[in-house]
Symmetry: C2
Subunit: 376 residues, 2 copies
């Protein structure tokens, strides 16, 4: 692994050595008394990280994308859904919901922007939506949505509407207050702010989300994603009892447990603040280099990643390649025709909390841009 | 981890140290040139392990159960499916297929038996089935189905019918010849005969399965399990090009690659033979103890696991607990009311190929039975 680069893409992120050691936990039965509390405590710590007292976390084996799929539990044919679209992931979440029969209305913001509070409240006043989805950080653009303001406004106008947030690139790096912000569903994965290798789909449900699921009129047209299968499993493990539907990813859950122990060992507010501080530092470096971030304002810029427009004449592949040569892995764009025109850097987890990796990225980026002929 | 027991349940199984080391591969981007060939070669080696030249493997992040889910790609509302039921997993596979609109006919064998060739051919002559499913080894009973004979007979009578095998507890421990046996879909997971921690759903598709998927009349009512998303990804990685739909479980795929390298380093026939030899040894020990296996004949007994009836007066929890005290983890039953009446032992992978763990199980089992008051 001598060619390994520092992984500074917006997920998977760098993993703590103890997390990697947990990944290599020797074979352990999924119903072993050693493992049961590991799973149970992980469920409890997820609740803690999203600042909830009562929500129900689900931890499934699968990619983060499987969280979108689980909306099949609360969507019935013809249900109206409002999708706030701030990039590639909003677009694809809408595609997923359509597959399960939702009628989609999209509020598409120009690239780098986000739908305004006015646009959202107007839309919610015009039509009764079963669900509004918001991507907290769209990994394609680095745009941060103001979940608190939007969710509270939506709930004030239409308490029955489910507020669903795609927080894949937000949990562990952005402020989230599940209960106080009246969220109903939060979707995330293991490989970003939670600092665990990819392979876990993590979803958190409000009582209201579970009620709507339980009172649906038509059966859930899904097997693996069906909450009927998973809710009893999660409740059992949290009660420190083994249960079986499908074999959990034991080693990944040991790794999740290790990372969550680290994360919850200090106040979560400190973690948010540190991510905000490092993000501001990176944005300043970008500005000092004469470059422009994709997010149109600092308010709308994520704290766990940044997307940056390339100078005229440079394409993403060149910069990504040059930084790779310096041992730093960053990512190109993923937004259709715009993809070659910008690059993305992740700043989450241990890279931010204890390793100061962003300084290496700034140094390598500055050198690479100069080597590629860029002059301010 | 000093309390860790030797994991001799029918999956997850014991993992090779090199596989565990691969699990702790430091953060690597899913599109990194280091990772792309690891994924591509894993796809190729899966094809090798199931003895196919042309089939299309899919490797997804998820439990083995997600393989059942993927049948949504070839099932349309009202499609007739014949399920050969040899235990809990056949029953649940039927449940999954029903969720996706299939009309199910079940051939249920008495516990420990399997539907006869006559029963199967009669059923296939009576009705045109879109699909026949067979559980190669039902992990609940340890019953081994004769896939070769059944598949060739079904295909001779009805070449259009898809033959789908649940080989979760068979790949890597039982003979499988995907092409020669004219299989269409094979479903497996990482944590049994493949010797990799749980978290990967692995499915192998024939050209005919892909054709039926491509010529379906109604859209696939699934997002995460949709082959439209995954087929281009697998083709790209096999062509050594990165691609993205959902983030793959990078570390698990490194582990899979390591285990597949070990498995394919010798002729696969040797692996089957060794599993047969160790299974026969364990069955003999069971018989010598005066106990009866669940499978009614040795022909119908799996080579990667064995289910054994307990003597009158003993329940599974007692024996499992006693062996746990001796550092050996075995499993109780999972078949409704019969669950406490039998136990299950896995004999797959390194435990069979190089570690001779079955001797430890036999010794501990013999001692435990004596301690629990069992006399022959």
């Amino acid at each position: 692994m001598s060619d390994r680069k520092l992984c500074m893409i917006p997920g998977p992120i760098e993993f703590h050595e103890d997390v990697l050691t947990a990944m290599s936990t020797p074979a352990t039965s999924h119903v072993d008394p050693l493992f049961v509390p590991i799973f149970g405590e992980s469920i409890e710590m997820i609740r803690e990280v999203v600042v909830s007292k009562v929500a129900q976390p689900l931890i499934l084996s699968g990619s983060g994308t499987l969280g979108w799929d689980q909306m099949v539990n609360v969507i019935e044919q013809g249900d109206e859904v409002l999708v706030l679209n701030t990039g590639y992931f909003g677009e694809n979440f809408a595609d997923c919901l359509k597959t399960y029969g939702a009628k989609i209305t999209q509020l598409r913001a120009p690239v780098g922007s986000r739908p305004t509070l006015d646009e959202v409240t107007t839309a919610v006043k015009e039509k009764k939506y079963k669900m509004v989805t918001i991507t907290q950080v769209d990994t394609s653009t680095g745009v941060l949505s103001d979940i608190k303001t939007l969710s509270l406004a939506i709930k004030a106008l239409s308490p029955e509407t489910l507020v669903v947030i795609d927080a894949v690139c937000a949990v562990g790096s952005e402020e989230i207050q599940f209960d106080a912000w009246k969220l109903d569903v939060l979707i995330t994965g293991s490989q970003k702010g939670l600092g665990v290798p990819p392979g876990l789909s993590i979803v958190v449900l409000s009582e209201q989300a579970i009620n709507i699921y339980e009172s649906r009129k038509t059966p859930v047209a899904a097997y693996y994603s069906n909450w009927k299968k998973w809710l009893p499993i999660m409740k059992a493990y949290e009660a420190r009892k083994p249960a079986y539907f499908a074999t959990p990813a034991v080693q990944l859950i040991y790794a999740l447990h290790t990372s969550l122990k680290q994360i919850t060992s200090q106040p979560i507010e400190k973690r948010w603040a540190k991510h905000q501080e490092v993000a501001a530092k990176f944005r300043k470096a970008v500005k000092d280099l004469g470059l422009k971030q994709v997010a149109v304002t600092d308010d709308a810029a994520a704290n766990g990643m940044t997307a940056v427009w390339l100078p005229e004449g440079l394409v993403a592949g060149q910069l990504v390649g040059s930084l790779a040569g310096k041992g730093v892995q960053i990512a190109g764009g993923i937004l259709g025709d715009l993809s070659p025109k910008y690059f993305r850097v992740g700043h989450m987890g241990i890279s931010v909390m204890e390793r100061n990796h962003i300084d290496k990225v700034i140094k390598a980026m500055t050198e690479s841009l100069a080597e590629l002929g860029y002059k301010q």
